[in-house]
């Protein structure tokens, strides 16, 4: 049984702290997730007043059957600590659901399921000095960080181009550098690093870096990832993306979260994704919906 109920009955939030305007960092205890999760996978979190403990149910209350907002929210896993049996999330508390997550207090419970989805695949690089590059926009950072930690542990060199609106929301910048990542940043307002889109910075990086990365991993808004994919394709560098679609169930039964493949099929973002090879995706096939 992949997701037995007992594994998710009493997940405790150890901490839930704001780390940047609108961004929160949560540490959760789960033996299963800490040991099984791969970089790029996500958890489906109940994010509602009831789930946040703001409304307390009574015995026989059917509160747990009713969540408002209705859907769970998919949140990429940021880090795992198998020896401590904890895992971490970084999320943006901006939408109708995620704002409830920011209200969960330390030492209270959280209702979530995971790990879900297809993860990033690190192909074996050249034996000497394998190098990969990450391109992240906004809250696309967390799953790439998970991957970067693994890659560095395996001896990869990691270049990273991080984009954000402003300096204050460049997530975990110091820690990335401490990990040994070669980090360049771009901000829309120029308060740090390159002023402009991270995709422009990425193009400049591809032109100027002497050793090209063997593979590129990207996560952020679709329009950003599409540009990254195009730039990667020009240099024939394989590129993996983490798709973001409105999700219903998150485990493959509602068939609502589909993306279109280049062969014209609809694949589930929660099963055949979210991590996919960029050249498999029909980038023209998306529809943007307002749900966070």
């Amino acid at each position: 049984m992949k997701y037995p109920k007992e594994e998710f009955s009493d997940l405790k939030v150890l901490s839930n702290r704001q780390m940047a305007p609108g961004y929160y960092h949560m540490v959760i205890r789960s033996r299963k997730i800490s040991r099984e999760a791969q970089a790029g996978q996500f958890v489906q979190v109940q994010a509602s007043a009831y789930a946040s403990g703001l409304i307390v149910g009574e015995d026989g209350d059917y509160g747990s059957g009713y969540t408002e907002p209705f859907f769970r929210r998919p949140i990429s896993i940021f880090r795992v600590n198998p020896s401590e049996e904890t895992f971490e999330l970084i999320y943006k508390a901006i939408g109708r659901g995620t704002r409830f997550l920011s209200l969960i207090r330390a030492n209270s419970k959280i209702n979530l399921i995971g790990p879900l989805g297809r993860w990033f695949m690190l192909s074996p690089g050249p034996l000497v000095k394998p190098k990969i590059a990450m391109v992240s926009g906004g809250v696309g950072m967390p799953p790439l960080y998970f991957l970067a930690e693994k890659a560095i542990a395996q001896g990869y060199e990691v270049d990273w181009l991080m984009g954000s609106a402003t300096a204050a929301t460049l997530l975990y910048e110091e820690q990335l550098r401490k990990l040994g990542i070669n980090l360049q940043v771009a901000t829309d307002d120029g308060t740090a690093g390159y002023k402009g889109f991270v995709t422009d910075l990425f193009d400049r990086y591809l032109q100027t870096t002497p050793a090209k990365p063997a593979e590129i991993f990207t996560c952020g808004p679709h329009i950003m990832m599409h540009k990254v994919a195009q730039s990667a394709r020009k240099l024939e560098i394989p590129c993996q993306v983490s798709l973001e679609e409105v999700m219903g169930c998150g485990y493959g039964v509602c068939v609502g979260c589909v993306y279109r493949t280049v062969s014209g099929e609809y694949h589930k973002s929660c099963i055949e994704g979210p991590c996919v090879h960029a050249d498999q995706v029909d980038w023209g096939g998306f529809k943007k919906l307002d749900i966070e």
């Binding site: 049984m1 992949k2 997701y3 037995p4 109920k5 109940q46 059917y62 747990s64 059957g65 009713y66 969540t67 408002e68 907002p69 209705f70 859907f71 769970r72 399921i113 679609e245 409105v246 219903g248 169930c249 485990y251 493959g252 039964v253 509602c254 068939v255 609502g256 979260c257 589909v258 993306y259 279109r260 014209g264 099929e265 609809y266 096939g285 998306f286 529809k287 943007k288 919906l289 307002d290 749900i291």
Partner: protein, 313 residues
């Protein structure tokens, strides 16, 4: 093997028999909300369910609708999936065998463009009758594009489809009714007259939602099926109305998320109940409902679940 997992003091009989079939308990999953079984089986042993209904199968494979298939609404959701499915042949080759290891009643949902197509599919399924317990006729999917009404809005069309299917198969048949009609009682009667062994209701209501920031409909097909706890009062009313209109058993669904909901439907006249959309937010809903119904039976000294059917006043 029936498992009574609650009290050791009393023996609880949760068995329900309809259309010549025995269900170990009253809880099944609704079509389109539980895939083909292997997905849900990752969360709990599917054998605990009274029954399992597959995603609707069509004659030919369908790729489904463009993205913009789902949207959340207060206590519910809209969906316009477009009946994405591998087609009957692939289903018979791969998904039907995958369902066999589970000790649960196997309900296969089919949909066609015409009565002939329904009959053709029924004829094909008849060859697999040892692997199928009940066929559910999806005459009411609001997402399939057809000029004019869906079958489920036309009593004559409904009756014709049921008759055509009954001619081609000995497997028991239930007809899944659409709520998007003026009078559910006449639809229920039409299906009964056509020879349906049971009725399944309700399918989704019709709804829409608009994103005011992009100024676009949230669903690519604009009008979509509406489901979830918000629709429960409508579904419950229709189950009760249908129960009063026909003699065949009713399988009730529409917004069921908890045992309390399920019991309302049983008390209103449903012999079986299905959990559907609630599984998207809680994959364990099915087994939680089964357990909590048993708790209710213990609390109220109900020895036989079937004694509750239709007893609301």
């Amino acid at each position: 093997m029936q498992q009574n997992l609650t009290s050791v003091n009393k023996s609880l009989d949760t068995q329900i028999s309809i259309a010549g079939l025995t269900f170990k308990n009253a809880v099944i999953t609704a079509s389109g909300t539980s895939g083909y079984g292997y997905e849900l089986n990752q969360f709990y042993d599917l054998s605990q369910l009274g029954g399992f209904t597959t995603k609707t199968i069509t004659l030919k494979p369908r790729i489904g609708n463009a993205p913009g298939r789902i949207a959340e609404t207060p206590y519910g959701m809209l969906n316009s999936i477009g009946l994405q499915n591998p087609g009957i042949e692939k289903f018979l080759e791969i998904d039907l065998p995958a369902l066999q290891p589970f000790d649960t009643r196997r309900i296969v949902s089919i949909s066609g463009d015409s009565a002939e197509e329904f009959a053709l599919m029924a004829h094909r399924l008849e060859e697999f009758k040892s692997k199928i317990d009940l066929i559910e006729l999806n005459v009411s999917c609001p997402n399939v594009e057809k000029g004019g009404l869906s079958f489920g809005a036309d009593p004559d069309a409904t009756r014709t489809v049921v008759q055509a299917v009954k001619k081609k198969t000995t497997i028991p048949v239930t007809t899944k009714l659409s709520p998007n009609v003026t009078d559910i009682k006449s639809m229920a009667k039409a299906a009964e007259e056509g020879g349906s062994d049971a009725l399944t209701l309700i399918n989704t209501l019709l709804g829409a939602a608009i994103d005011i920031n992009t100024r676009r409909f949230k669903i690519s097909r604009k009008v979509a099926g509406f489901s979830g706890p918000a629709i429960k009062p409508v579904a419950l009313r229709m189950v009760w109305e249908a129960k009063n209109a026909v003699r065949i058993p009713i399988i009730g669904m529409g917004g069921i998320a908890t045992a309390e909901d399920a019991l309302e439907f049983i008390l209103a006249g449903a012999s079986l109940v299905a959990v559907g959309t609630a599984q998207f937010i809680n994959p364990y809903a099915g087994i939680e409902i089964i357990r909590s119904i048993e708790d209710y039976m213990v609390k109220y000294n109900v020895s036989h679940l079937k004694d509750l059917i239709g007893t609301a006043q």
